[in-house]
Symmetry: C2
DNA sequence: ACGTGCCCCTGACAGATGTCATGGTGAGGT
DNA sequence: ACCTCACCATGACATCTGTCAGGGGCACGT
Protein backbone atom coordinates (compact mmCIF):
# COMPACT_ATOMS: atom_id res chain seq x y z
CA UNK A 1 0.00 0.00 0.00
CA UNK A 2 1.60 3.29 -1.13
CA UNK A 3 0.75 6.20 1.17
CA UNK A 4 0.22 9.53 -0.62
CA UNK A 5 0.00 13.23 0.06
CA UNK A 6 -1.70 15.47 -2.50
CA UNK A 7 -0.79 19.17 -2.49
CA UNK A 8 -2.61 21.56 -4.82
CA UNK A 9 -4.06 24.97 -4.08
CA UNK A 10 -7.15 24.46 -6.22
CA UNK A 11 -9.50 22.55 -3.94
CA UNK A 12 -11.58 21.22 -6.82
CA UNK A 13 -8.59 19.79 -8.66
CA UNK A 14 -7.07 18.47 -5.48
CA UNK A 15 -10.30 16.73 -4.48
CA UNK A 16 -10.72 15.28 -7.94
CA UNK A 17 -7.18 13.88 -8.00
CA UNK A 18 -7.66 12.46 -4.51
CA UNK A 19 -10.77 10.52 -5.52
CA UNK A 20 -9.11 9.46 -8.75
CA UNK A 21 -6.12 7.97 -6.95
CA UNK A 22 -8.30 6.66 -4.14
CA UNK A 23 -9.90 4.25 -6.58
CA UNK A 24 -6.57 2.47 -7.14
CA UNK A 25 -6.35 -0.58 -4.86
CA UNK A 26 -2.67 -0.13 -4.03
CA UNK A 27 -2.77 3.63 -3.41
CA UNK A 28 -3.93 5.34 -0.24
CA UNK A 29 -4.27 9.11 0.00
CA UNK A 30 -3.35 9.81 3.60
CA UNK A 31 -3.21 13.60 3.62
CA UNK A 32 -3.90 16.75 1.62
CA UNK A 33 -2.48 20.25 1.58
CA UNK A 34 -3.65 23.47 -0.08
CA UNK A 35 -0.51 25.49 0.59
CA UNK A 36 3.17 24.76 0.07
CA UNK A 37 4.19 25.66 3.60
CA UNK A 38 1.68 23.17 5.04
CA UNK A 39 3.35 20.22 3.35
CA UNK A 40 6.44 19.92 5.54
CA UNK A 41 4.38 20.03 8.70
CA UNK A 42 2.00 17.40 7.39
CA UNK A 43 4.94 15.18 6.45
CA UNK A 44 6.11 15.23 10.06
CA UNK A 45 2.75 14.05 11.35
CA UNK A 46 2.04 11.35 8.76
CA UNK A 47 4.13 8.66 7.24
CA UNK A 48 4.07 9.37 3.51
CA UNK A 49 5.70 7.44 0.68
CA UNK A 50 5.06 9.77 -2.24
CA UNK A 51 4.06 13.45 -2.24
CA UNK A 52 2.30 14.89 -5.30
CA UNK A 53 3.23 18.57 -5.45
CA UNK A 54 1.73 21.27 -7.61
CA UNK A 55 4.20 23.98 -8.62
CA UNK A 56 1.87 26.98 -8.40
CA UNK A 57 0.98 27.18 -4.71
CA UNK A 58 0.70 29.98 -2.17
CA UNK A 59 3.15 30.00 0.72
CA UNK A 60 5.79 27.83 -0.85
CA UNK A 61 6.37 26.83 -4.45
CA UNK A 62 6.20 23.07 -5.13
CA UNK A 63 9.85 23.02 -6.17
CA UNK A 64 10.88 24.87 -3.02
CA UNK A 65 8.96 22.30 -0.99
CA UNK A 66 10.87 19.62 -2.81
CA UNK A 67 14.17 21.29 -2.02
CA UNK A 68 13.20 21.66 1.64
CA UNK A 69 12.26 17.97 1.78
CA UNK A 70 15.61 16.94 0.36
CA UNK A 71 17.42 19.26 2.77
CA UNK A 72 15.50 17.88 5.74
CA UNK A 73 16.32 14.35 4.69
CA UNK A 74 12.67 13.29 4.56
CA UNK A 75 12.34 9.75 3.14
CA UNK A 76 9.23 10.75 1.17
CA UNK A 77 9.67 10.89 -2.61
CA UNK A 78 8.30 13.87 -4.51
CA UNK A 79 6.34 13.89 -7.78
CA UNK A 80 5.86 17.33 -9.28
CA UNK A 81 2.51 17.76 -11.02
CA UNK A 82 2.09 21.02 -12.86
CA UNK A 83 0.04 22.94 -15.38
CA UNK A 84 2.92 24.55 -17.21
CA UNK A 85 5.64 22.49 -18.82
CA UNK A 86 8.29 25.16 -18.51
CA UNK A 87 11.64 23.61 -19.46
CA UNK A 88 13.40 25.39 -16.60
CA UNK A 89 11.00 23.85 -14.11
CA UNK A 90 12.05 20.32 -15.01
CA UNK A 91 15.69 21.14 -14.47
CA UNK A 92 15.08 22.93 -11.18
CA UNK A 93 12.75 20.18 -9.96
CA UNK A 94 15.28 17.45 -10.62
CA UNK A 95 18.07 19.51 -9.04
CA UNK A 96 15.80 19.95 -6.03
CA UNK A 97 15.64 16.18 -5.72
CA UNK A 98 12.25 15.47 -7.30
CA UNK A 99 11.53 11.87 -8.25
CA UNK A 100 9.35 12.81 -11.16
CA UNK A 101 7.78 15.58 -13.21
CA UNK A 102 4.34 15.23 -14.77
CA UNK A 103 2.31 17.78 -16.74
CA UNK A 104 -1.39 18.11 -16.04
CA UNK A 105 -2.38 17.37 -19.60
CA UNK A 106 -1.12 13.79 -19.50
CA UNK A 107 -3.93 11.20 -19.45
CA UNK A 108 -5.43 10.58 -16.04
CA UNK A 109 -4.76 6.87 -16.38
CA UNK A 110 -1.01 7.47 -16.37
CA UNK A 111 -0.90 9.33 -13.08
CA UNK A 112 -1.24 6.26 -10.87
CA UNK A 113 1.45 4.58 -12.90
CA UNK A 114 3.78 7.54 -12.48
CA UNK A 115 3.19 7.42 -8.74
CA UNK A 116 4.08 3.72 -8.62
CA UNK A 117 7.24 4.22 -10.63
CA UNK A 118 8.38 7.14 -8.50
CA UNK A 119 7.75 5.03 -5.41
CA UNK A 120 9.86 2.28 -6.95
CA UNK A 121 12.73 4.74 -7.23
CA UNK A 122 12.50 5.51 -10.94
CA UNK A 123 12.86 9.01 -12.33
CA UNK A 124 9.65 9.78 -14.22
CA UNK A 125 9.87 12.70 -16.62
CA UNK A 126 7.77 13.52 -19.64
CA UNK A 127 9.95 12.72 -22.66
CA UNK A 128 9.18 15.76 -24.80
CA UNK A 129 9.70 18.04 -21.84
CA UNK A 130 13.01 16.44 -20.92
CA UNK A 131 14.25 16.93 -24.47
CA UNK A 132 13.13 20.53 -24.51
CA UNK A 133 14.89 21.33 -21.26
CA UNK A 134 18.04 19.78 -22.65
CA UNK A 135 18.16 21.75 -25.89
CA UNK A 136 17.12 24.85 -24.00
CA UNK A 137 20.19 24.59 -21.83
CA UNK A 138 20.54 25.92 -18.31
CA UNK A 139 19.35 29.29 -17.09
CA UNK A 140 21.75 31.85 -18.63
CA UNK A 141 20.69 34.68 -16.34
CA UNK A 142 22.79 35.83 -13.41
CA UNK A 143 21.03 36.09 -10.02
CA UNK A 144 20.80 39.87 -10.24
CA UNK A 145 19.35 39.72 -13.72
CA UNK A 146 16.70 37.37 -12.41
CA UNK A 147 15.89 39.74 -9.54
CA UNK A 148 15.56 42.67 -11.87
CA UNK A 149 13.43 40.76 -14.39
CA UNK A 150 11.16 39.53 -11.63
CA UNK A 151 10.58 43.09 -10.54
CA UNK A 152 10.07 44.13 -14.15
CA UNK A 153 7.37 41.50 -14.76
CA UNK A 154 4.60 43.88 -13.80
CA UNK A 155 5.72 46.38 -16.42
CA UNK A 156 6.72 48.97 -13.84
CA UNK A 157 9.11 51.73 -14.98
CA UNK A 158 12.83 51.47 -14.24
CA UNK A 159 12.60 53.86 -11.30
CA UNK A 160 10.20 51.51 -9.46
CA UNK A 161 12.25 48.44 -10.30
CA UNK A 162 15.39 50.14 -9.06
CA UNK A 163 13.72 50.99 -5.76
CA UNK A 164 12.40 47.43 -5.41
CA UNK A 165 15.84 45.84 -5.86
CA UNK A 166 17.78 48.60 -4.08
CA UNK A 167 19.95 49.47 -7.06
CA UNK A 168 20.65 52.59 -9.06
CA UNK A 169 18.55 53.13 -12.19
CA UNK A 170 21.63 52.89 -14.35
CA UNK A 171 22.56 49.49 -12.97
CA UNK A 172 19.03 48.23 -13.48
CA UNK A 173 19.14 49.32 -17.09
CA UNK A 174 22.46 47.56 -17.54
CA UNK A 175 21.08 44.33 -16.10
CA UNK A 176 17.98 44.63 -18.25
CA UNK A 177 20.08 45.33 -21.29
CA UNK A 178 22.20 42.25 -20.73
CA UNK A 179 19.10 40.13 -20.06
CA UNK A 180 17.59 41.37 -23.30
CA UNK A 181 20.76 40.42 -25.14
CA UNK A 182 20.66 36.91 -23.65
CA UNK A 183 17.00 36.41 -24.46
CA UNK A 184 17.22 37.99 -27.88
CA UNK A 185 14.45 40.46 -27.09
CA UNK A 186 14.09 44.19 -27.64
CA UNK A 187 12.25 45.41 -24.54
CA UNK A 188 12.37 44.61 -20.82
CA UNK A 189 8.76 43.39 -20.94
CA UNK A 190 9.58 40.85 -23.65
CA UNK A 191 12.68 39.74 -21.80
CA UNK A 192 10.69 39.29 -18.58
CA UNK A 193 7.98 37.24 -20.32
CA UNK A 194 10.55 35.17 -22.18
CA UNK A 195 12.35 34.36 -18.94
CA UNK A 196 9.13 33.58 -17.05
CA UNK A 197 7.92 31.25 -19.81
CA UNK A 198 11.09 29.21 -19.47
CA UNK A 199 10.93 29.00 -15.71
CA UNK A 200 14.04 31.12 -15.26
CA UNK A 201 12.50 33.31 -12.54
CA UNK B 1 -30.21 11.09 -14.10
CA UNK B 2 -28.42 14.26 -15.21
CA UNK B 3 -26.29 13.74 -18.32
CA UNK B 4 -23.01 15.68 -18.35
CA UNK B 5 -20.24 16.78 -20.67
CA UNK B 6 -16.86 17.73 -19.20
CA UNK B 7 -14.61 20.01 -21.26
CA UNK B 8 -11.11 20.83 -20.03
CA UNK B 9 -7.84 20.84 -21.93
CA UNK B 10 -5.81 19.33 -19.10
CA UNK B 11 -6.43 15.62 -19.45
CA UNK B 12 -5.46 14.89 -15.86
CA UNK B 13 -7.84 17.42 -14.40
CA UNK B 14 -10.59 16.43 -16.81
CA UNK B 15 -10.21 12.76 -15.94
CA UNK B 16 -10.17 13.51 -12.25
CA UNK B 17 -13.32 15.60 -12.43
CA UNK B 18 -15.02 12.92 -14.50
CA UNK B 19 -14.37 10.21 -11.91
CA UNK B 20 -15.33 12.60 -9.12
CA UNK B 21 -18.71 13.33 -10.67
CA UNK B 22 -19.12 9.74 -11.82
CA UNK B 23 -19.35 8.69 -8.18
CA UNK B 24 -22.56 10.68 -7.69
CA UNK B 25 -25.57 8.42 -8.15
CA UNK B 26 -27.67 10.98 -10.00
CA UNK B 27 -24.93 12.23 -12.35
CA UNK B 28 -23.76 10.55 -15.52
CA UNK B 29 -20.76 11.81 -17.49
CA UNK B 30 -21.73 11.02 -21.07
CA UNK B 31 -18.95 12.76 -22.97
CA UNK B 32 -15.63 14.58 -22.68
CA UNK B 33 -13.81 17.20 -24.74
CA UNK B 34 -10.27 18.53 -24.64
CA UNK B 35 -10.80 21.46 -26.99
CA UNK B 36 -13.42 24.17 -27.16
CA UNK B 37 -14.27 23.58 -30.79
CA UNK B 38 -15.01 19.91 -30.13
CA UNK B 39 -17.81 20.72 -27.71
CA UNK B 40 -20.47 21.85 -30.20
CA UNK B 41 -19.96 18.79 -32.34
CA UNK B 42 -20.19 16.48 -29.34
CA UNK B 43 -23.37 18.21 -28.23
CA UNK B 44 -24.98 17.33 -31.55
CA UNK B 45 -24.20 13.64 -31.18
CA UNK B 46 -25.12 13.23 -27.52
CA UNK B 47 -28.03 14.38 -25.46
CA UNK B 48 -26.49 16.49 -22.69
CA UNK B 49 -28.20 18.28 -19.82
CA UNK B 50 -25.29 20.22 -18.37
CA UNK B 51 -21.92 21.06 -19.93
CA UNK B 52 -18.97 21.86 -17.63
CA UNK B 53 -16.71 24.24 -19.54
CA UNK B 54 -13.21 25.33 -18.68
CA UNK B 55 -12.38 28.88 -19.81
CA UNK B 56 -8.78 28.31 -20.87
CA UNK B 57 -9.02 25.90 -23.80
CA UNK B 58 -7.42 25.65 -27.23
CA UNK B 59 -9.63 26.09 -30.27
CA UNK B 60 -12.46 27.92 -28.59
CA UNK B 61 -12.60 29.70 -25.24
CA UNK B 62 -15.20 28.28 -22.79
CA UNK B 63 -17.14 31.53 -22.84
CA UNK B 64 -17.17 31.54 -26.65
CA UNK B 65 -18.47 27.99 -26.58
CA UNK B 66 -21.20 29.16 -24.25
CA UNK B 67 -22.12 31.98 -26.59
CA UNK B 68 -22.21 29.62 -29.54
CA UNK B 69 -24.47 27.24 -27.62
CA UNK B 70 -26.89 30.02 -26.79
CA UNK B 71 -26.85 31.21 -30.40
CA UNK B 72 -27.50 27.71 -31.70
CA UNK B 73 -30.39 27.29 -29.29
CA UNK B 74 -28.97 24.15 -27.75
CA UNK B 75 -31.08 23.06 -24.73
CA UNK B 76 -27.93 22.14 -22.77
CA UNK B 77 -27.14 24.39 -19.81
CA UNK B 78 -23.56 25.58 -19.34
CA UNK B 79 -21.52 25.70 -16.12
CA UNK B 80 -18.24 27.58 -16.43
CA UNK B 81 -15.44 26.08 -14.33
CA UNK B 82 -12.25 28.08 -14.30
CA UNK B 83 -8.91 28.60 -12.61
CA UNK B 84 -8.97 32.38 -12.61
CA UNK B 85 -11.76 34.32 -10.97
CA UNK B 86 -11.39 37.32 -13.21
CA UNK B 87 -14.33 39.66 -12.55
CA UNK B 88 -14.76 40.36 -16.27
CA UNK B 89 -15.12 36.65 -16.95
CA UNK B 90 -18.21 36.37 -14.75
CA UNK B 91 -19.91 39.20 -16.55
CA UNK B 92 -19.03 37.89 -19.99
CA UNK B 93 -20.03 34.35 -19.07
CA UNK B 94 -23.45 35.41 -17.85
CA UNK B 95 -23.97 37.63 -20.89
CA UNK B 96 -23.06 34.62 -23.02
CA UNK B 97 -25.88 32.71 -21.38
CA UNK B 98 -24.00 30.63 -18.83
CA UNK B 99 -26.05 29.01 -16.10
CA UNK B 100 -23.27 29.18 -13.57
CA UNK B 101 -19.71 30.21 -12.79
CA UNK B 102 -17.50 28.22 -10.44
CA UNK B 103 -13.84 28.75 -9.53
CA UNK B 104 -11.54 25.76 -9.31
CA UNK B 105 -10.59 26.43 -5.72
CA UNK B 106 -14.08 25.78 -4.40
CA UNK B 107 -14.35 22.52 -2.43
CA UNK B 108 -14.82 19.45 -4.56
CA UNK B 109 -17.94 18.51 -2.64
CA UNK B 110 -19.73 21.60 -3.92
CA UNK B 111 -19.24 20.87 -7.58
CA UNK B 112 -21.92 18.20 -7.84
CA UNK B 113 -24.28 20.50 -6.01
CA UNK B 114 -23.57 23.34 -8.42
CA UNK B 115 -24.27 21.00 -11.32
CA UNK B 116 -27.64 20.02 -9.86
CA UNK B 117 -28.64 23.60 -9.24
CA UNK B 118 -27.67 24.69 -12.74
CA UNK B 119 -29.67 21.78 -14.10
CA UNK B 120 -32.63 22.93 -12.04
CA UNK B 121 -32.45 26.31 -13.76
CA UNK B 122 -30.75 28.26 -10.99
CA UNK B 123 -27.96 30.76 -11.64
CA UNK B 124 -24.96 29.59 -9.61
CA UNK B 125 -22.26 32.22 -9.10
CA UNK B 126 -19.59 32.47 -6.42
CA UNK B 127 -20.76 35.25 -4.11
CA UNK B 128 -17.45 37.04 -3.63
CA UNK B 129 -16.80 36.96 -7.34
CA UNK B 130 -20.24 38.32 -8.20
CA UNK B 131 -19.71 41.22 -5.81
CA UNK B 132 -16.29 41.94 -7.25
CA UNK B 133 -17.57 42.02 -10.79
CA UNK B 134 -20.29 44.41 -9.72
CA UNK B 135 -18.04 46.96 -8.01
CA UNK B 136 -15.54 46.57 -10.83
CA UNK B 137 -18.13 47.72 -13.33
CA UNK B 138 -18.17 46.82 -16.99
CA UNK B 139 -15.19 46.79 -19.32
CA UNK B 140 -14.28 50.46 -19.90
CA UNK B 141 -12.04 49.77 -22.89
CA UNK B 142 -13.12 50.42 -26.46
CA UNK B 143 -12.71 47.55 -28.96
CA UNK B 144 -9.64 49.14 -30.50
CA UNK B 145 -8.04 49.68 -27.12
CA UNK B 146 -8.57 46.01 -26.41
CA UNK B 147 -6.99 45.04 -29.73
CA UNK B 148 -3.97 47.19 -29.07
CA UNK B 149 -3.54 45.98 -25.50
CA UNK B 150 -3.81 42.37 -26.61
CA UNK B 151 -1.01 42.95 -29.08
CA UNK B 152 0.98 44.77 -26.41
CA UNK B 153 0.73 41.89 -23.93
CA UNK B 154 3.96 40.37 -25.16
CA UNK B 155 5.83 43.58 -24.44
CA UNK B 156 6.58 44.23 -28.10
CA UNK B 157 7.55 47.78 -29.08
CA UNK B 158 4.96 50.12 -30.57
CA UNK B 159 6.21 49.56 -34.10
CA UNK B 160 5.39 45.84 -33.90
CA UNK B 161 2.03 46.43 -32.28
CA UNK B 162 1.15 48.95 -34.96
CA UNK B 163 2.00 46.44 -37.68
CA UNK B 164 -0.01 43.72 -35.95
CA UNK B 165 -3.16 45.85 -35.71
CA UNK B 166 -2.63 47.65 -39.05
CA UNK B 167 -2.54 51.13 -37.55
CA UNK B 168 -0.08 54.00 -37.52
CA UNK B 169 2.32 54.16 -34.60
CA UNK B 170 0.84 57.46 -33.48
CA UNK B 171 -2.65 55.99 -33.27
CA UNK B 172 -1.39 53.02 -31.31
CA UNK B 173 0.27 55.33 -28.82
CA UNK B 174 -2.95 57.31 -28.48
CA UNK B 175 -4.96 54.16 -27.80
CA UNK B 176 -2.36 52.97 -25.31
CA UNK B 177 -2.33 56.37 -23.65
CA UNK B 178 -6.09 56.35 -23.22
CA UNK B 179 -6.03 52.77 -21.95
CA UNK B 180 -3.38 53.73 -19.42
CA UNK B 181 -5.55 56.63 -18.27
CA UNK B 182 -8.54 54.31 -17.81
CA UNK B 183 -6.53 51.69 -15.94
CA UNK B 184 -4.60 54.22 -13.89
CA UNK B 185 -1.26 52.80 -14.97
CA UNK B 186 1.95 54.41 -16.20
CA UNK B 187 3.22 52.04 -18.90
CA UNK B 188 1.63 49.97 -21.67
CA UNK B 189 2.86 46.77 -20.01
CA UNK B 190 1.12 47.59 -16.76
CA UNK B 191 -2.05 48.56 -18.59
CA UNK B 192 -2.01 45.30 -20.54
CA UNK B 193 -1.51 43.20 -17.39
CA UNK B 194 -4.17 45.16 -15.53
CA UNK B 195 -6.68 44.60 -18.33
CA UNK B 196 -5.82 40.91 -18.68
CA UNK B 197 -6.20 40.32 -14.94
CA UNK B 198 -9.71 41.66 -15.08
CA UNK B 199 -10.73 39.64 -18.09
CA UNK B 200 -11.06 42.67 -20.34
CA UNK B 201 -9.14 41.14 -23.21
C1' DA C 1 -29.19 69.53 -37.74
C1' DC C 2 -26.60 68.87 -33.89
C1' DG C 3 -23.94 66.91 -30.34
C1' DT C 4 -21.48 62.87 -28.76
C1' DG C 5 -18.42 59.16 -28.90
C1' DC C 6 -15.28 56.12 -31.21
C1' DC C 7 -12.11 55.91 -34.77
C1' DC C 8 -7.84 57.28 -37.37
C1' DC C 9 -4.28 60.30 -38.34
C1' DT C 10 -0.48 64.15 -37.81
C1' DG C 11 3.14 66.71 -35.45
C1' DA C 12 5.73 68.20 -31.57
C1' DC C 13 7.81 67.76 -27.03
C1' DA C 14 9.50 66.07 -22.40
C1' DG C 15 10.87 62.27 -20.30
C1' DA C 16 11.85 57.31 -20.14
C1' DT C 17 14.50 53.61 -22.13
C1' DG C 18 18.25 50.90 -24.21
C1' DT C 19 23.19 51.07 -25.58
C1' DC C 20 27.86 51.87 -24.91
C1' DA C 21 32.25 53.15 -22.88
C1' DT C 22 34.49 53.11 -18.66
C1' DG C 23 35.88 52.03 -13.97
C1' DG C 24 36.04 49.94 -9.44
C1' DT C 25 34.99 45.84 -6.27
C1' DG C 26 35.15 41.05 -4.70
C1' DA C 27 34.87 35.82 -5.37
C1' DG C 28 36.80 31.88 -7.72
C1' DG C 29 39.87 29.42 -10.66
C1' DT C 30 44.76 28.54 -12.82
C1' DA D 1 49.71 36.73 -8.73
C1' DC D 2 46.77 36.74 -12.47
C1' DC D 3 42.58 36.32 -15.14
C1' DT D 4 37.79 35.90 -15.47
C1' DC D 5 33.27 36.91 -14.34
C1' DA D 6 29.46 38.73 -11.80
C1' DC D 7 28.46 42.91 -9.70
C1' DC D 8 27.61 47.99 -8.98
C1' DA D 9 28.00 52.42 -10.65
C1' DT D 10 28.41 56.77 -13.74
C1' DG D 11 27.68 59.65 -17.72
C1' DA D 12 26.45 60.40 -22.48
C1' DC D 13 23.88 59.39 -26.52
C1' DA D 14 20.19 57.93 -29.87
C1' DT D 15 15.86 56.21 -29.75
C1' DC D 16 11.48 54.99 -28.01
C1' DT D 17 7.33 56.31 -25.24
C1' DG D 18 3.65 58.81 -23.39
C1' DT D 19 1.22 63.27 -23.63
C1' DC D 20 -1.05 66.92 -25.72
C1' DA D 21 -3.20 69.71 -29.26
C1' DG D 22 -4.92 69.56 -33.17
C1' DG D 23 -7.60 67.56 -37.57
C1' DG D 24 -11.28 64.74 -40.26
C1' DG D 25 -14.56 60.76 -40.77
C1' DC D 26 -18.42 57.87 -39.34
C1' DA D 27 -22.44 56.12 -36.69
C1' DC D 28 -25.70 57.16 -33.16
C1' DG D 29 -29.42 59.31 -30.69
C1' DT D 30 -32.12 63.73 -29.92
Amino acid sequence: MIRLLVADDQALVRGAIVTLLGLEPDLDVVAEAGRGDEVLEVLRRHEIDVALLDVEMPGLDGIEVCRAMTAAGVPTRALIVTTFGRPGFVRRALEAGAGGFVVKDTPASELADAVRRVHAGERVVDGALAAESLIEGPNPLTPREQDVLRAALTGAPVSVVAAAVHLSEGTVRNHLSSAMAKTGTATRAEAANHARDRGWL
